[in-house]
């Protein structure tokens, strides 16, 4: 398949992930949608790596993988801490940082 197909799929997945971030209220699910977006980026990176024929894009995708793992760790730790504080797990309720 032509590489452009992969890129279109990547764009589609990215958009779906962005829509999920906007629409869902559970922070866990929002994090999941964030993962969706990161994976879409990964797909695009691998496609471009294939286009060039060297390993640069793959290394990039590997590092993105690492970053996603770290971010998930810290994000989940936050959500656990919120849960422990008995605050509602709902981003619409957690809005103290306002003007």
């Amino acid at each position: 398949m032509a590489l452009s197909w992969y890129l279109v799929v990547s764009a589609l997945i990215f958009s779906i992930g962005a829509g999920g971030v906007l629409v869902r209220r559970n922070p866990l699910v929002i994090l999941l949608c964030l993962e969706l977006m990161l994976n879409a980026a990964n797909l695009a990176l691998i496609a471009f790596a294939r286009m060039h024929g060297n390993a640069d894009g793959q290394i990039f995708a590997l590092i993105v993988l690492v970053v996603a793992a770290c971010e998930v760790t810290v994000g989940l730790g936050l959500i656990v801490a919120i849960f422990r504080r008995r605050l509602p797990i709902d981003v619409d309720e957690l809005r103290e940082l306002q003007g």
Binding site: A18, V21, L22, V23, R25, I30, V91, D92, L94, R95, E96, L97, Q98, G99
Partner: protein, 671 residues
């Protein structure tokens, strides 16, 4: 040491005295402040003598010496330096100022004993003498203005010396405000002159004016001189800026003697004499000065006839005599005017000192209506009053006679419409004699009043309850009010010494400038006035002789009239008052100048101030500008605050929308 070094010393001693008294008064012993101050001024007087001696060693056309100590700002059009000018005129003035000041300091050492503000008084007095010396020694307009302002400040400080007395503080403020009007005139006048002369220095300005710098700007010169006259009138209490001088009598009597008789009020005379090249080129301004001086001497003389407070009688007398001096120097009789300045300093200070002694005998009361018959109990004071009164009235051979007649002879010799001023001058001399001897006859002749009788028995009267002499309010004797003791000259050696010296000077001081015999003053002052167009001009001999005779006749007639009304026919004063009731009302209300100024100036300004505060400040500045700005800012920040809802998803949506917009832009831009 050169004359200018002596000049700086003259300035340094009073300043040092003021600083020592002002800063270290707690460490000085009781009464030391007075002697320190007197010594300081005495040292200044000796330095002034030194300056005089050294100056006379120079050749006559090299007697105008400038010494500059510091350059403040010397740029394109402005040369502001700390420079003094030592020339015959300034040496003359500093001799008069320091000499009379030394005697008055000596007098005050006893007069203010027991007052809680003793050291403060002498610090202020030294500061005043320093300021006056700065004024007369100034070599450029800058230092003149500085000295002018300082003198006004010192006057304020000393008038409201007894600061817990409300009448005194009000009088101090009145004097200061009117002085400030004069200051504005002085500074604006300086500006007008500076614009075309290009220099602040006196000698350079005079050279520029004589060289024709104002040939095409005559209007500016006249305007500048008129503004300088405004300053002179305010300082010398001429109409219409004279209303502060009678109120200034709230200060202690030595203050009245020094500031409001001998020195500060003569600053206007000095100013016109110093600026004579300018005034000679702007003859319109000089004429205005002569007319105002003449009007003042007449008006003040009439008011002096009806005043009952003894100090105010002498104050109006001062105003009148300054009017003579202003008239003289405006008309070109510089030596005459300055000679009268010197003799007036002698006899007026003497009169004030004697009045202080009399007030001490009356335990603080100042009203003529309560005084009578002190002749036997206070012979020395009476003698001083007689000497001063004869000099003031212009009876030969006392000093006032020669100086006043020289002025009038000069004015008459100018011819033209100046003859009217000449006539008014003699009318004024008649009035002078009348009101002076009215005061003396009322206070010393007739039946002794209770205080006089006590004094005859050897007991100086003391007030049970101290009161304000003007309003009768009760006071205590703590700081801010006069001290509990009163002193009279007969019992206080310093007062006696000071008054004796002045009495001698008032008697023989005139003999240095007797017509046809000698003219020490004119010769001495010649180097300063050599560039005047009246140099060498003298009134005709016949006019001089006629004036001498007329002056004597007028003075003796005035004394005789006063004797008739107040001594030989008691009770006729009331009859005269009834006969001339409208005139009496006019004089007693001081020609309604206070009311006029109140209506014309004070009320509009007060109304404007109220309007500014209530309407403009509150509604516009606070309401519109300040509150308006804050409400605009608050509304703006409220609008911005609405963006920060705290909803995470809104933020994400904004981010996404923004990102989409940027990508759209790039898509369009690249296609």
């Amino acid at each position: 040491m050169s004359p200018t070094t002596y000049g700086w010393l003259v300035l340094a001693f009073p300043l040092a005295g003021a600083i020592v008294n002002g800063l270290f008064y707690k460490r000085l012993g009781r009464g030391a402040a007075g002697w320190i101050a007197t010594t300081a001024i005495g040292a200044a007087f000796i330095s002034a003598l030194g300056a005089l001696v050294r100056l006379q060693h120079h050749a006559p056309d090299h007697r105008q010496l400038v010494s500059s100590l510091w350059d403040y700002a010397v740029t394109g059009d402005v040369d502001a330096k700390l420079s003094i000018l030592v020339d015959p005129l300034s040496v003359y003035m500093i001799l008069v100022v320091t000499g009379v000041s030394t005697l008055i300091h000596l007098y005050s050492v006893t007069y203010l004993k027991g007052d809680r503000g003793y050291a403060r008084y002498f610090a202020y007095l030294n500061f005043f003498v320093f300021s006056m010396l700065v004024l007369v020694l100034a070599g450029n307009f800058l230092l003149l203005i500085v000295g002018w302002a300082f003198v006004g400040a010192a006057s304020y400080l000393l008038i409201s010396f007894w600061y817990r007395r409300e009448t005194a503080t009000k009088a101090g403020i009145k004097a200061f405000v009117i002085n400030v009007v004069g200051d504005v005139g002085l500074v604006l006048g300086t500006f007008f002159i500076l614009r075309h002369s290009g220099t602040l220095d006196f000698l350079a300005t005079f050279k520029a004016v004589d060289g024709g710098a104002f040939a095409t700007h005559h209007g500016a010169l006249v305007a500048g001189c008129l503004l300088l006259l405004v300053g002179a009138f305010a300082k010398s209490a001429q109409i219409p800026l004279h209303t502060w001088l009678p109120d200034a009598m709230e200060g202690p009597t030595p203050v009245s003697a020094l500031i409001h008789a001998a020195t500060m009020v003569t600053a206007g005379v000095y100013l016109i004499a110093r600026m004579h090249p300018l005034f000679e080129h702007a003859s319109a301004a000089a004429d205005v000065g002569a007319v105002v001086g003449c009007a003042t001497l007449l008006v003040a003389g009439t008011i002096g006839l009806v005043m009952t407070d003894i100090k105010r009688v002498i104050a109006y007398s001062t105003m009148s005599q300054i009017g003579y001096m202003i008239m003289a120097v405006s008309a070109g009789g510089y030596a005459a005017g300055l000679f009268h300045l010197m003799t007036h300093a002698f006899f007026k200070a003497l009169l004030f000192m004697a009045a202080g002694s009399l007030i001490g005998a009356m335990a603080g009361a100042q009203s003529l209506e309560r005084m009578s018959g002190f002749r036997r109990s206070m012979p020395f004071t009476f003698g001083c009053f007689v000497v001063g009164g004869l000099a003031l009235s212009g009876v030969p051979p006392f000093s006032g006679f020669f100086s006043k007649d020289e002025i009038l002879a000069w004015v008459g010799g100018r011819g033209g419409w100046f003859v009217a001023l000449y006539v008014v001058g003699y009318v004024g001399a008649f009035l002078t004699a009348v009101y002076t001897w009215r005061m003396i006859f009322r206070a010393f002749f007739g039946d002794p009043c209770p205080e006089a009788r006590e004094l005859e028995r050897g007991h100086l009267a003391h007030a049970e309850v101290h009161t304000n002499p003007a309003t009768g309010e009760e006071e205590d004797t703590d700081v801010g009010f006069p001290g509990p003791e009163h002193f009279i000259a007969e019992r206080a050696a310093p007062m006696k010494i000071a008054m004796s010296v002045l009495a001698v000077l008032a008697t023989v001081g005139g003999l240095i400038q007797v017509p046809h015999v000698d003219h020490v003053v004119t010769t001495f002052l010649e180097p300063t006035f050599a560039d005047s167009k009246y140099a060498g001009v003298e009134p005709s001999n016949s006019l001089v002789n006629f004036g001498l005779v007329l002056g004597t006749v007028v003075a003796l007639a005035g004394i005789a009239l006063a004797y008739r009304i107040w001594v030989s026919r008691p009770g006729s004063a009331a009859a005269w008052q009834e006969r001339f009731a409208p005139a009496y009302r006019l004089f007693a209300s001081k020609w309604w100048f206070d009311e006029l100024i109140d209506v014309a100036v004070v009320r509009p300004f007060a109304a404007f101030g109220t309007f500014a505060q209530r309407t403009f400040e509150r509604v516009f500045v606070e309401g519109v500008l300040v509150d308006g700005t804050t409400s605009v800012v608050r509304a703006g920040s409220a609008a911005v605050r609405a963006l920060q809802t705290g909803f995470l998803r809104y933020y994400a949506a904004l981010l996404l929308l923004g990102g989409a917009a940027v990508i759209l832009y790039f898509l369009i831009a690249s296609s």
